[in-house]
């Protein structure tokens, strides 16, 4: 087990060194014109910037290591579901003052869905599951409707983009189907919450592009955003990148 892990790590390391060998600029020059560059940067280069970030030494052993391969991706999903479940648990525990009965009912549903997701991953991962994360909600004013709904909307859109970006990193078909079963529920949440914040924005052009495609994000992109709400250090350096 240890040996296998070491092999994986050294393969990763080799991959990163090679990725550094050909300068990014030469690839961009190869790829073409200015207008194209912008789009390529979004799809093609994101993984590379993630890699170079991972290259920086990671001091200390505190926090959790998501692990590698499919287990790593499932732990990544588990981490996000922990964050969401903790958030909605607090929302229902201390609802904002102007909350309507209808909102309370649906936000309670969402809390239960996120708890179901969290517990599912915990059970499915069993001994390979990361520990419970310590969240940091100090930036959220749970008495404020705007703060709560704004955060909820951001979490749901982030969750959708995380699952969309992680799908192609999974190797096991059944895990992909499970991720698919969850992501559409997150998208249903997102559309509802977006409309609460801004009517008509259920699939706004800040999340759906002009080809009708939703947003996907790589794990490093997602964790950078989610990290603002998590105290526990998350080591994602062994996650697959393609």
């Amino acid at each position: 087990m240890d040996t296998k892990h070491d092999v994986n790590q050294s393969e990763d390391a080799i991959g990163k060194i090679e990725a550094k060998a050909l300068p990014r600029r030469s690839f961009l020059r190869y790829a073409g014109t200015g207008a194209t560059l912008v789009t390529l940067t979004l799809t093609g280069i994101a993984g590379i910037s993630g890699c170079s970030k991972d290259n920086s030494p990671n001091p200390g052993n505190e926090g959790v290591d998501l692990g590698s391969d499919d287990i790593g991706i499932l732990n990544y999903a588990y981490a996000l579901e922990q964050l969401e479940a903790a958030f909605y648990t607090q929302v229902i525990k201390s609802p904002f003052s102007s909350i309507t009965d209808g909102e309370m009912a649906l936000l309670t549903d969402i809390r239960d869905h996120e708890i179901a997701h969290r517990e599912f991953f915990k059970t499915a991962l069993a001994a390979k599951a990361i520990a419970g994360l310590e969240v940091d909600f100090s930036k959220i004013d749970f008495s404020s409707r705007d703060s709560v709904l704004g955060t909820a909307k951001a979490f749901e859109d982030l969750g959708v983009s995380a699952y969309n970006g992680a799908g192609s990193l999974l190797k096991t078909p059944n895990y992909l189907v499970l991720a698919g079963k969850i992501v559409s529920v997150e998208a249903r949440h997102a559309a509802y919450l977006r409309d609460l914040v801004t009517p008509g924005s259920f699939a706004g052009d800040d999340v759906v592009n002009n080809m009708g495609l939703d947003t996907s994000r790589t794990p490093p992109q997602v964790l950078q955003i989610a990290g603002a709400y998590v105290k526990t250090k998350i080591d994602a350096s062994h996650l697959p990148t393609s």
Partner: protein
Amino acid sequence: MNLYHIIQEIEKTDPEVYDRLDSRRAVMKNFAGFGKKLAAAAIPIAFGSMLNKAYGQGTATSVLDVLNYALTLEYLESGFYAMGNAAATTLIPTTEEKNAIKVIGDHEAEHVTFLKSAITSAGGTPVKKPVFDYTAKGTFPDVFTNYQTFLAVAQTFEDTGVRAYKGQASNLMSNSDVLTAALNIHSVEARHASQVRQMRKANNFGDVKPWITLNQSGIASTAVQPSYNGEENTNQAGVQIKNINGMKVSENAASEAFDEPLTMDQVLAIVKPFIVA
């Protein structure tokens, strides 16, 4: 998706990869042309087509089959909203709702355009747009004159679309770019479904939530039931979600928390009444 990595990987075994891709200039032209029309997500697909040309390998038939299947469903949806929007003055009561249906219809039309381009880029031929009968052979005779019927059909199309894409995800694993694009469409369909359900609720057309409870459609017609059968599942990968780990997760919530896939055959049976030829 990491184009850079893919080129590098190929270069390891084939140092001439750059020459095979026609020429640097042709590659740039390809990227630029595709980029203007399709932008980010389609560029990898365009890239895939370049590789196919370079190495004489066709894209797996199953991926093309899935894309054409998806295209058929998007034709169905986009044609539906096009007719709904054309009848909006008399069909849709408020400006807010007119706008929402417009947004959804625009997305479906964009999906048609995207899928056609993706199929062509991958070396396939897009299927022709079928002739549709949105009354489903008389099951929904007032679909474009009665807002309640219109939204019931819209909800069914969106919820079915979500399940249809979900059912094909594992058939796209050989092509991560197509898979990611399909996932990015899948979640948009789910956003639409959520919105249409909220619109039905707001109009008192049905007691529905943005998510699917058990196998309930919230629609009077039993004709839509095949689109909801199976959604009552609360067992995921052998794990019972109801009251999981001692949590108070009701059966309703356990079923809502996971959307279920449909097979291609199931979906084709559902849409068959809407297809004339």
